[in-house]
Symmetry: D2
Subunit: 265 residues, 4 copies
Amino acid sequence: MILDATCQLSYQITEDVAVIFMLRPRTGVAQSILHEEFSIYPPVPILEFTDVYGNLCQRTTMPAGEFQISVRYHVDVADGIDVDPNAPLTPMEFLPTDVIQFLLPSRYCQSDMMTEMARSIVGNLPPNYSQVWEIHDWIRREITYVFESSNASTSAVDTLASRCGVCRDFAHLGIALCRAMSIPARMVVGFLHELQPMDLHAWFEAFIGGRWYTFDATQPNTKGNRIVIAYGRDAADVALATIFGEFQLNRMFVSVNPAGTGDGV
Amino acid sequence: MILDATCQLSYQITEDVAVIFMLRPRTGVAQSILHEEFSIYPPVPILEFTDVYGNLCQRTTMPAGEFQISVRYHVDVADGIDVDPNAPLTPMEFLPTDVIQFLLPSRYCQSDMMTEMARSIVGNLPPNYSQVWEIHDWIRREITYVFESSNASTSAVDTLASRCGVCRDFAHLGIALCRAMSIPARMVVGFLHELQPMDLHAWFEAFIGGRWYTFDATQPNTKGNRIVIAYGRDAADVALATIFGEFQLNRMFVSVNPAGTGDGV
Amino acid sequence: MILDATCQLSYQITEDVAVIFMLRPRTGVAQSILHEEFSIYPPVPILEFTDVYGNLCQRTTMPAGEFQISVRYHVDVADGIDVDPNAPLTPMEFLPTDVIQFLLPSRYCQSDMMTEMARSIVGNLPPNYSQVWEIHDWIRREITYVFESSNASTSAVDTLASRCGVCRDFAHLGIALCRAMSIPARMVVGFLHELQPMDLHAWFEAFIGGRWYTFDATQPNTKGNRIVIAYGRDAADVALATIFGEFQLNRMFVSVNPAGTGDGV
Amino acid sequence: MILDATCQLSYQITEDVAVIFMLRPRTGVAQSILHEEFSIYPPVPILEFTDVYGNLCQRTTMPAGEFQISVRYHVDVADGIDVDPNAPLTPMEFLPTDVIQFLLPSRYCQSDMMTEMARSIVGNLPPNYSQVWEIHDWIRREITYVFESSNASTSAVDTLASRCGVCRDFAHLGIALCRAMSIPARMVVGFLHELQPMDLHAWFEAFIGGRWYTFDATQPNTKGNRIVIAYGRDAADVALATIFGEFQLNRMFVSVNPAGTGDGV
């Protein structure tokens, strides 16, 4: 399906601040960017760079006052996600070099503390896709989605204790448990068509059988029609807007619709 | 000025062929991408990657038959180009590491063979911007622009002999002469507003005083309003479409207009 | 001073395991590698790669049984470290792109939770080197070095609570407090001449005035004669040996001496 | 076999000059660096960086006068080279992204001009290893090794015309002919045990069946016991010492012996 996605952000700042945006999706295995708009007001010169995960980032300094940033994309995405219950875990010695970093513990995914927990969840499942599926299923069963139940410092260890969270917490816990089993896992932020209520979203991917598979424990059925904006080790790496100073978010608008349905600008 | 640029390419192939496109401009020091469209027909899955120069590239395989690719951008660019006659050449020991490669001779820029030539052109000019300006001026005076006077194998050495060429030859010669003076220089391909006749264009940049400056020996006055699509050592690195097999180019259309003037799609 | 450093590690494993070593120092601003030895027994084919921080890493699979790895270097290092009390903090907009990642919170450095703490330590100091010096000094005053007081999951938040730790904990806390003030900071592992007792060591660097400065809160006077082996966001990134399976460390030997004093092999 | 290789270079310069050395071999698929020495006299601070091909390079500025640089390695290498007459050429769509650049024409390998030549050599051979073997064999039969028959500007086109050359010319021609057949090929510089007379050496590798294979048309039998120092598109990329100014090479010494045979220092 071709999706038409929009994100508009409006901020108030009281002095000039440096900002970094991570809002340009890239064409990849599962998505093709057909159309992309980026506008910032007031207009400022922008410097683009690629971070260590391949995300396209943009740096600039915004003058004091109000500023808006808005993006809109038409992206061709798959309606479903790939599932392969028999895909084998990739032995460490065959992991591509740039995948290895996704085995390391990170700010919100303290995998080093969860080896026993992960083993108890996975049990005697064979060393394949089904282990990650079981981790994902366990999170669905055991963790309750509670709006605004977590904050910017909530980690997977916290979520294990509180047993509740939002999409990023579900993703962090899934990532931490995978890494604890030596399965590479990474954070994904983006858009999901028909997410209720519509918002930016987060989920995770695990590296199995030589490729990345999508998992999303917040959804009863892991649907396709996802637009990936950025990848990272965890939420620390994939803030879509980083503002280096005091600010107030005045307004945020997100929409995702089939292209051509007239709901866009 | 905000430019609205379009490029449409239509090819005929008789068997499935691998292709690489280099058609996504990046936001940078001198340009901001506000709006970008990319469409390919028939639709195929595409894999995006970044080459060693930072260009966004796309790989895919096109099925036998006809295919079209079209891109359109709105890009905010400067109306003029920066000129600083007193900017000093950057001593080798202060060159950023990733600039060093632009000192090396390359396929079409045999700088290793032009040291004497470059010295005779530059003469006693001080070690600053004026040396590159003189190289650019010399090319304007000595080389004649002749449509279709060169081909895909024409190099700077060939152009020195024939004394004629097109935009890519002018750029190659400028690059080769700069490198012969140990001044880093790189190829740029993109769009130039009001180019006569309208087409894709090529020019070069030289690294002086800690930054890159634009030079274009095909134009009487080096104007701004340029959209950069890709950088490279020379034309070998920056083919906007590389087709690994037999093909016929059926049609190519390029337009560049001020945004909002209604000339686009 | 030219240092002669040796590190020998001996492990026991009960089945074949994948391993990654990060034991090859690189020549850099403050050190020149004059001589380097690397040996592994039993001999196995090794694949070398560079991680996202530029560290030289080596991958292989070790067969079940005992294995030894030993390295030895002669490295020319400075006797002192650079100190500049007036070096200004680099404004965010002038940070080099590859330094930005060292502002992010990471596994052991939860800078996002320490903004108030950092501000209270730094007080009204001017925005320069003295802020980091005060952070370093505060750690020296407030945190007690206690051998074996922490483990592989101890983070900066834990250390703030327990008020004790070892070198890596001191470094993590320094890094977290710097990042909380928007000062880039990174973990360093390596050797320190005359460390008592001799062992591998960890400290941190902060990016001030356009460059990295060395800080080591475990030492009464931050001495030079340091050999850097690897850089990272925190200890998660710079394990000198990562063994993907069960193992026992049989023996570890570290020595650092002035070259030519006969204490080496 | 474990080889003990030494290279000593002595230069005379009349003013301070910037230099780049590419003299640190890396552990890889076919070699393990066990021991490495690097010394430069007079001693100067050195900055190390990795170029776009992964080679470890070193930058510094040498003061006017004489300077020496010497390196010595113990490297574990294979006694033979891998040969697989049935290894299939890798279709373009399966080439790893970082291999694609080795399809492009380059300074000394004008593959764009040799398509017909390459086809006539390869004839009706199946699309596998045998095509490259035939290219290599054709060069052995048709090009004569003549000491000092070429210089720093000699390209593959020149060698095709003159029918003679040295090791770098043989490599350039092999690379150009491979690329003309859309087979990725790269330049290798390093040491070859029992080369007669002993000197630095150059050969090439072609990417076939998902990996790189070694070819050396200067040798009657392509032997192993090779130490790779650097890879590149052609000789422009892999100068072991680049001196940005006037200089005189006073002395060059190269030795390669089985380790432990007493011929070293």
